[in-house]
Subunit: 241 residues, 2 copies
Amino acid sequence: MRFTSEQRLDDGVLERGFALGDIPGILWTPAAAPAPLILLGHPGGLRGMYPRLAARARHAAAEGFAAATLELPGAGDRPRSADAEQARADLRRALEAGGRVDDGIVDRLVLPLVEQAVPEWRAALDALLPLPGIGGPVGYAGGVMGIGIRLAVVEPRIAAALLFAGSFVPRALVEEARRITVPLLVLLQWDDEGNDRQQALDLFDAFGSTEKTLHANTGGHTGVPHFEGDDGNRFFARHLR
Amino acid sequence: MRFTSEQRLDDGVLERGFALGDIPGILWTPAAAPAPLILLGHPGGLRGMYPRLAARARHAAAEGFAAATLELPGAGDRPRSADAEQARADLRRALEAGGRVDDGIVDRLVLPLVEQAVPEWRAALDALLPLPGIGGPVGYAGGVMGIGIRLAVVEPRIAAALLFAGSFVPRALVEEARRITVPLLVLLQWDDEGNDRQQALDLFDAFGSTEKTLHANTGGHTGVPHFEGDDGNRFFARHLR
């Protein structure tokens, strides 16, 4: 891993771009060290997602957490996969046609992404955790439930996860969710039109963790209330310190 | 209203018993004044509920809130109603027999209680709010969803409500719930055996408030995690200050 850029933000947070092999990523570290690390999940496309990711990272840094994220396979400047592009086009067509999206499309879209991304995020942990200023257990906060589920199952360094509920979770990953044991906080936007509410509740029910909390709020996909950011920080403070 | 007892607790909170006509109640006030008032709901029987109510009141007082509660009709030393006793016996029999509880039993048990209790709680507000040390908008926090629903609908001084999900909410009150507009925080124990989860989710969906939040946690009826007390305080701090 090598750093490709570095800037000190006005709140004292150090933001560094990095490359893990060919994969770009960003690391935010607060002034106070050592800071537990939170991995920030996203739907892909670091450039477009930057404002929201930076805001989440700075909010976490204000509570003493470091944060890091990685570009997803097939997103940003990373090479496209023909199969994934085809699955994405099929999903778009199915959504436009209305009705239920075929499980096969979801599997073709999500499972290869999870297969490729999760080892990359674990390699990022290998590279990030030895850095000065970072220490302690790791959290995951993100909306790509597939990656979050698999990471929480296979990566013992993940001690707690905050998951934004979303649709299009392959059945195989719902089954994997039963094996998760770390504390979970699941955010659900109650009126999210692009999200099957019952599916999200069923997934919450499936998680194997003995400590799991669901926060459901009125509003659409991007309408998560500001106070949930504070709740997220307190959730991680309980489990990463 | 007259005070019947007074003691200063070790955390500086002043606890006063009172009588509103023949109805006993308790008022807790923190040292810092004026304090917004939170009404504490409960299933009836102040004597048995005292340890839990006092703990909730002292937790609220630590964040600068006053708290008050009132005995319910037919509970504690208050006169029993033959109809309510009959409905309670019918409910117990229905629960022992298993299966779905008839709506008629729920209506006979809850609706008269709500009809009688809500004016009493409003009269308590009339008596409590002019007291020195109490000021600002009022919150309701309680598990008797019927009383909480009706109060939030008819009492304009209630500015926010924290409701513990429970079963046996009459259909008429679910309809009333659609007219609630104040911010709500609803607590649901996900594995509460005495509670129909789907019914609780349907009720959450019915509330008319544009700001409503559901916190669902693993565990049974009495297993509400300690951190929900802090979340409740922050919810009221957002809306009562």
